[in-house]
Assembly symmetry: D2
C-alpha cells in the first residue's frame, strides 16, 4: 500500500532516533530538567530569535492545545477559533473539558481574517449584556490551517494588532509548522511567528519525531507554575529526555527545516501531476496536504492500493479526498501514485 493518508505514518527521522539510541543509557534527571532539554530549548530560542523566550515540551497536539489554552485563559474567558479549527471540531471537546468555550468565527480557507475578528470583538464589548456572555480571552489559529493554507506575514501582523488592541494573546497551533515555513512562496519565517504570536508550538509529531511539541512563549510569558498545571493535566512526562533529545536533534543543523522541505517537494510534485491530469482541486493548498475531487468509482478502486483520507462528500458521485505527504515521503512513491491516477 502507498501511504498518503496522513503525516504520522512512520516513526522518527533516523537522526532523531539515532540520538535517542546514543544517549539511551545516560542517567538523566527527570521531568524535563536534563541537559538535552536545556540544549534543545536554547536552540529553539535561537531559531526563533527570542533569547528571552520560555520553551516547554509536551507530548501531543490536543494535549498542547488544552494546556496552553486552559492555563492562559481566565475562568470567564473562552478561546476564539475558526469554526473549522482543530480545537473546535476534532479534539473531542478537550477545551470544554477544561471548562472553556470555543467561540467560533466564520473562516475562509481555514483562516480567520483580521476584520472579522475585529468586528466580533467590538460587537462583544458593545453588547450591553456581555457580562452574561463568555469573554473572548485568546485567539487560536493554525498555520498551516486544517486546509493546508497559510497566513501571509501581513495577515499575521493584522491579527496580532487586533489582539494587542484588545489585550488578548494570539496563539498559533503549529502542528505542521515546518511544512508552513518551508512552503514555496510563504513570506512567514519562524522569527515572524515569534514576533506576531504570544504563544505557539512547533510540531514534532508530524515533522520527524516519535512524539512531541515544543511550546514557545516568545516574550518569556509562560504562566507561573506551568509545570504544576502540566502535571495537574496529566501531561508531565517522567522521562522528559524523550522530548528534549528529539527536539535537540531536530534543531541541530536545521534538520527540522531540511526534512520539512521533503514534504513540500513531494507534495508539489503530486500537485503538478494532478493538475496535468486535469483533477479538480477542492482548495489550493501550498503545503503538504492536497485536497482533490475524485470520482467515487475511481476512489474505491484506488483504495485498494493507496491509503488516503476521506474529507467530505462533494455530490452523489464525487468525493473530496486528502493526500498528505511528510518528511518521510519518498518521491518514488509519488511516482507510483501518479501511475495509478
Amino acid at each position: 500500500m502507498l501511504a498518503f493518508g496522513n503525516d504520522y505514518s512512520e516513526g522518527a527521522h533516523e537522526k532523531v532516533l539515532g540520538r535517542l539510541l546514543e544517549t539511551n543509557m545516560e542517567q538523566l534527571p527527570g521531568y524535563g530538567t536534563d541537559d538535552y532539554c536545556k540544549s534543545a530549548k536554547e536552540k529553539i530560542k535561537k531559531a526563533c530569535g527570542c533569547p528571552e523566550a520560555d520553551v516547554y515540551f509536551l507530548v501531543g497536539g490536543t494535549q498542547t492545545n488544552q494546556i496552553v489554552i486552559s492555563t492562559m485563559l481566565k475562568s470567564y474567558e473562552g478561546v476564539i477559533a475558526a469554526d473549522t479549527g482543530h480545537v473546535n471540531g476534532h479534539e473531542a471537546g478537550a477545551i470544554e473539558w477544561s471548562g472553556h468555550k470555543v467561540l467560533t468565527l466564520p473562516q475562509k480557507e481555514g483562516k480567520i481574517a483580521a476584520p472579522v475578528l475585529s468586528d466580533y470583538l467590538s460587537t462583544f464589548y458593545e453588547d450591553e449584556n456581555h457580562e452574561h456572555m463568555v469573554f473572548p480571552g485568546m485567539v487560536y489559529i493554525s498555520h498551516p490551517t486544517e486546509y493546508g493554507t497559510l497566513y501571509t506575514k501581513d495577515e499575521l501582523s493584522e491579527l496580532s494588532a487586533v489582539c494587542s488592541q484588545y489585550g488578548i494573546p494570539l496563539y498559533m497551533d503549529g502542528a505542521r509548522l515546518g511544512y508552513g515555513l518551508t512552503s514555496e512562496g510563504t513570506d512567514v519565517t519562524l522569527k515572524d511567528v515569534a514576533e506576531y504570536c504570544d504563544v505557539f508550538y512547533i510540531g514534532g509529531t508530524k515533522v520527524g519525531a516519535l512524539c512531541g511539541e515544543a511550546v514557545v512563549f516568545p516574550k518569556g510569558n509562560m504562566p507561573p507554575h506551568f509545570v504544576t498545571m502540566v502535571k495537574q493535566r496529566g501531561a508531565l512526562l517522567a522521562k522528559g529526555r524523550l522530548l528534549g533529545i528529539q527536539f535537540d536533534a531536530l534543531f541541530t543543523d536545521d534538520l527540522y527545516f531540511e526534512i520539512s522541505r521533503n514534504a513540500i517537494a513531494t507534495a508539489d510534485r503530486l500537485k503538478q501531476i494532478l493538475k496535468d491530469k486535469g483533477y479538480e482541486f477542492y482548495i489550493d493548498s501550498p503545503t503538504n496536504q492536497i485536497f482533490v475531487v475524485l470520482d467515487n468509482e475511481q476512489m474505491e478502486k484506488m483504495k485498494k492500493e493507496v491509503v488516503f483520507g476521506f474529507w467530505e462528500k462533494k455530490d452523489e458521485s464525487h468525493t473530496v479526498v486528502r493526500f498528505a505527504t511528510s518528511w518521510a515521503t519518498r518521491m518514488e512513491d509519488v511516482e507510483k501514485l501518479a501511475a495509478l491516477l
Copy 2:
C-alpha cells in the same frame, strides 16, 4: 417609567407571596423534603398527565440548564442547540464550565428543524473520525424560543422522533413555558410537552414566582443520585419550601396558566397597536416578547419614559428593540405606551 424591559421586573404574584406568608412560621424539614414540595410535585405531575414523572425544583434558569445537561450527558457527549440558544450565547459558558460542548445548529426564528437535526446526526455517525469528536448526547430547545416563537405539535413530534432514533433525550427550556402554552393558536399543551420531551422545565421566575424552576422528568427518568449532584453544583436550597410553596400556589386552580394569559393579552394588544401604527416587526412572535424596529431618534426619546430592551442594530439609523410583557403587566401601561409610540 413604563416597564417593558423584561418579564422579571416585579416580585411574585400576590397569591404566591400570600402562601409564603401564611406558611412562614411552620417548621418544615429542609432540602425539598417538606409536604409543600410533595404537594406541588403531585399537582405538576397531574397537570402534565404523567403520574410516574419525577419533579425537582431549582432556583434559576441557567442553573437548571447546567444541572439538567451536565447530569444527563456522559463525559464524552455535548448538547445540541440552536446557535441562538440561551445555553450557547447567554449563560457565560455555564455548560462548558461543567465540561461539555454546546454543538450548534443553524436555526430559523430560533427553532431547530427536525431535518436539520437529522442531517447533523447522520453526518456525525458517517464520519470516520467521529471518535475524535464530541458525541451528540442531547438536544436542547427552548419553547418559547429566545425570539418568542413556538414549535408546533408536529414539529415537536418530529424532533422527538429523531431523538428517539438516535437514543438521545430531547430537553425543553421552558423559562417562559406558561406564555407558550397560553399563546393564541398554539396547538401544544403541557401534556404534549411531557409526551414529546424527555426532560423539560416549567419556568417560575418569569411567570409569577420570586424564583424557581420545576424540572420534570416525565418518564421517571431523573438521574440516580440527582440530589447529590445538585448539592455538588451548589444548587441545593436549604429551605426548599421556598420553591415548593410557590409552585404549589402556581399549580393550584390553574394559577400558572391564568396569569400567563395576562402576558399574552397585553402583548397581543401591544402588537395590534404597533401594527396599526405601521411599525416594522423584526420577527412575528406569538408570545410575550415583541421585536420591533425603531428609528434611532425615536428610540432615544422613548428611553426617557419606557424601559425596553436593545436587541441589535438594524442599520445606521434603525435598531431592533424588544418589548416584553408578563403576568404583571397592566393593560393601562400598554395604553400609556401606545400614546408614546
Copy 3:
C-alpha cells in the same frame, strides 16, 4: 413536634418577609442592580467598618463556598480546611467539582490553630517536590465552626498573620455568623472579622432570611468579572431583589444581631437545663448548637416528640445528638423540651 433539628426550619423573620411584601410590585432592574441591593450593600459595609468593601449576594452556603473558592484560587491551588470543615465533608464535592482540592489539616473543636497552619505551609515550601503537589492558595475557616465553637480575636489575628506571610487569603464561612457575633463572651466583632479576613460571608439562610448569603470582600478585592463567573456557575439570580431586600431589612436597626441573640438566649437556657440534669456534653459550644450525649433508649423515646440531629455514635448504648436553636426558637419550646429531658 418540637423542632430543634436545625436552624432553618422556619421561613423568614416577619420584618424580612414584610419588606418583600411591601416592595413586591415595584418594578426593579434584575441581577442585583436594583436600589435595594445597593442599599443593603451600603448598610453591610457600614456594619463592617469597610467603606471600600465589595459586597455580593448569593443564594446558599455551598454555592457561596464554591464560588468564592473557585474564583479566588488559581488553577494549581487548593484550599486549606480543617478536616471537619463543611467544604471537606458535607458539600458533595462541590469544591472538587470546580477543579480544586481541599487540603485538610487536623483540627481541635473544629478550629485550625495558627501553628498547625504555619507548619503545614513551611513544610510544603521546603518539600523539593512541591511542584508536583497542589499549592495551598487559601485558608477556609468557619465561625462558628461545624461544632459551634468560636475563634478568639487573638486566634483570628494569628491565622491572619500566617496567611499574610504566605500571601494567601483567609476566608471565613459565616453561615451562622450572627450566632457567633452575639455569643456570650466572644471578643470578636463584625469589624474584627472584616479586619482579619480577606473574604467572608454573612449567613442569611440560617439567620432570618428565606435564603441568601452576603459575601464581603473587605478590601474591595472582589475578583474581576465576578458577575460573569457567578453566572457561569449557575448562581446569578434574575430577581436579585429577593436577596437585596432581605439583607436590607436584616441590616436595618441591627435586626440581624437582635434576632441572632434569640438563638443564643434559648441555647444558653437549654444548656443550663442539660447541665442541671447532669447530661454529658460532647463539646462545649458557646453558640446555637448543643452537642450532648443521650442514652439510646431515651433517644428513641424523645424522637417521638422532638426533632433533633444525629451526630455520631458514642458507644454501643450512647449517641451524640445535636440540638439547634435559631432566631425563631421560642423559649416556651425550650421549656417543653426541658420537661422531656
Copy 4:
C-alpha cells in the same frame, strides 16, 4: 555520580529500543490501531490469563490515574485512597481537576486494610446525611505502594471482596508492578492481580520503556467510548505505535519480568549491605525502593557522589532518604555505593 535517585534515569531497555529502530520506517495507522498494539494487547491478555480483557496504552502514570478514575467514576463519586496514595499527594490535584474528590483512609506502610475500608463504607451508608457527601465510587491502591510495600494475596482478596460487596471497582496503580511481581516472597502473580482488580495498569515508564503504561480492564469492562474520553483528556497519542511496539517487546519472552528481577536483585544486595553496616531502615520494603536513615552530615557528603531521594526529616540530625534501583541498575554501581556507605 552514582544514580540511585529514582527508577526512570535511563532511556529504554535495549531490546525495547531495538524494536523501535527495526520498525521505524514501517507505515502504520495511527492512534493505537496498528498491529503492534494489537499484538502487545494479546500478549498482555495472555500474561494476565484474561482472554476477554480490554487493554489500552497510555503515556504516563498520573495521566493514567486521571483517565481511569475520571472515566469510571460517576459525577457524584470520589475515589478512596490511602492518604499516602500517589493520587492524593503527588499528582498536583489531577483527580480534583477532573472533578472528583480523593477520599482518604489511614494506611499502614502505604496499604489500605480491608477492615478499615469496610468500616468506612458501612459508616458512609449509615450516615443519614450521606446524600450531601461524596459517594465512594472506586478504591485506589498502589502495588508496590509509595513505600515499596506489597499486598499479600489474602489482603488483595479481602479488599476485592469488600469492593464487590459495595459494587465499586478496585483499581491498582502498577507504576512499578514488575518490581512487585518479581519481589522475593510475594505470593501475588499477574494473574492474581487480574483476578482481584477490576482495573489496573502495568507500568512501563519505570520498567524498561521510554514511556507508557498498559491499562488492563480484565473483565472486558473498559468504559464505552474510552478512546473519545482519552482524546478529550488530551492523552490520545497519534503515533500509538510508540507504545504498542514497546509493550510488544516487553511482553515477548517475559522480558518485563526478567528485567524487573534486576531491580530486585540489586535492591536486595543493597539492603544486605545496609543491614550489615548497621543502618536503620525507615520501613521494610521488599521491592526496589529502600528507605533508610542517614546522619545529616554523612548525607551531605554522600550527595557529592550519589544521587538519591530526600524522603523526610527524621529529627534534627537525621534524615530519611530513598535509594531506588531499577531494571538498569548495575551491580557494580551497588558495590561502589557500598564502598561509600
